[in-house]
């Protein structure tokens, strides 16, 4: 195992270098250096960009742009991003959060990538050298994507309309059994008028619970009314099996945890 690291000052130059075979982008190192340490010989050339713009958080008029190199710790402590803090704090321990980046999280395979689950529920727009794409398109194509991710745009949710839950066996911090993020708009009588729900560990990458979203519309958040949505949440899932939990277990507990999130 030997790695070679090249540092570029601009994303454009780095993007050109990234096209060479065996080349990966180095963000915080928690994915690619880990892979190299594990003996992944497919990783030998690393590229990184030193442009400080990639580490910036810009909040204006309810819109947030998170630079791709922004760390989980930077989000968790940002005074205007309190709604995102629970999802950012769900990632790793303190050292990992000082290293792990927004961009990296979008590439993290299940059971990792809890923050990307939150971004999916928030309908983020992913900004790359090749242009801007909706997060769902980005996630679907991420294995073949060769364009450097520079930022993620979201509309900042109201704290009360955004919910996030990570379930792990080790307390306070452990790898996900599953994670769920939900962006819910309620009418004044408590009826759900819009719902966007994202699931982690229910596939090899974050996915939406489209059937559950549909089933929630017009419901009040009571155990009786959400029951059809909990059943529908299992539609289309293909949970991962790993040392944390089997696919069977993850599928069994999904409705329970989604119910807790919705009724909380």
């Amino acid at each position: 195992m030997s790695l070679a690291l090249q540092t570029f000052s601009s994303v454009k130059d780095a993007n050109a270098a990234l096209q060479a075979a065996g080349t990966r982008y180095l963000g915080g190192g928690t994915l690619v250096v880990r892979a190299a340490n594990e003996g992944d010989v497919a990783v030998f050339n690393l590229i990184r960009v030193s442009d400080p713009a990639l580490s910036q958080i810009a909040v204006s008029g309810g819109k947030v742009r998170l630079g791709a190199s922004v760390t989980m710790a930077a989000i968790a402590r940002h005074p205007e991003l309190a709604a995102l803090a629970p999802a950012a704090r769900a990632v790793g321990g303190p050292a990992i959060r000082n290293m792990a980046t927004v961009g990296g999280n979008l590439f993290a395979p299940a059971p990792y990538g809890d923050f990307a689950v939150a971004l999916l529920a928030l309908d983020a727009t992913v900004v790359t050298q090749a242009g801007e794409v909706p997060i769902e398109t980005f996630l679907a194509d991420r294995d073949t994507s060769r364009a450097i991710l520079t930022a993620v745009d979201i509309a900042l949710p109201k704290a009360e309309s955004f919910r996030f839950l990570k379930v792990s066996r080790v307390k306070p911090k452990g790898v996900s059994v599953l994670s769920i993020a939900a962006l819910l708009e309620l009418a004044s009588d408590g009826t759900v008028t819009s719902a966007r729900i994202a699931l982690g560990c229910m596939a090899d990458r974050p996915m939406r619970a489209l059937a559950a979203e549909k089933a929630l519309l017009g419901c009040k958040l009571t155990p009786q009314e959400i029951a059809p949505a909990l059943t529908a949440a299992s539609e289309g899932i293909a949970p991962i099996t790993d040392p944390i939990a089997s696919a069977w277990y993850r599928a069994e507990v999904l409705p329970v945890h989604l119910g807790r999130l919705l009724l909380d």
């Binding site: 070679a4 190192g29 880990r34 340490n37 303190p94 990992i96 000082n98």
Partner: protein, 160 residues
């Protein structure tokens, strides 16, 4: 493989080394510079035994490439004692029997140091959270949590 120059401050003293490109900070510290206080446990970012403080922030040296640390201020447990006198955290780990095999201890102490530097009087929950990225397979964690709380009390008494 091309060697690259790396220069940073380790526990207050300037270090300059040539390392192979892609060398982790952990390997540079242990094999090149001779500071064996950070331990290589999992090399996967899971165990926290390699934790060091870079520019005031807790990092995992096994996942950090040495050449990205140019000009950085790197702190390890080896630099804590001053003039033969143990740091309050080291003293507390001994007094509270928070060390058994000792492999996790340098990482635990680095994680605890970042906590106490920012939060001199932490709650038990703060301590548990601060140590949540560090694994210990001996103690069951309770003596470690107590040691950090003990060090915090010792610090506040000294300050008073």
């Amino acid at each position: 493989m091309a060697k690259v120059p790396v220069q940073f401050t380790l526990n207050g003293s300037e270090k300059a080394e040539f390392v192979e490109s892609g060398t982790t900070l952990l390997n540079a510290l242990r094999d090149k510079i001779g500071d064996t206080s950070p331990k290589g446990g999992c090399h996967q970012g899971t165990c926290g035994a390699c934790s060091v403080i870079i520019d005031g922030e807790l990092r995992l040296s096994c996942l950090t490439l040495a050449e990205t640390c140019g000009g950085a201020d790197v702190r390890t447990t080896a630099g804590l004692a001053e003039g033969g006198v143990l740091h309050p955290l080291q003293r507390a780990f001994l007094d509270a029997f928070a060390t058994q095999c000792g492999f996790c201890t340098p990482g635990m102490i680095m994680a605890a140091k970042v906590l106490l530097d920012r939060t001199p009087n932490p709650s038990r929950e703060d301590v548990v959270e601060a140590l949540s990225g560090n694994i210990c397979r001996c103690t069951g964690y309770e003596p470690i949590i107590q040691a950090v709380l003990l060090a915090a009390r010792a610090n506040s008494q000294n300050a008073a």
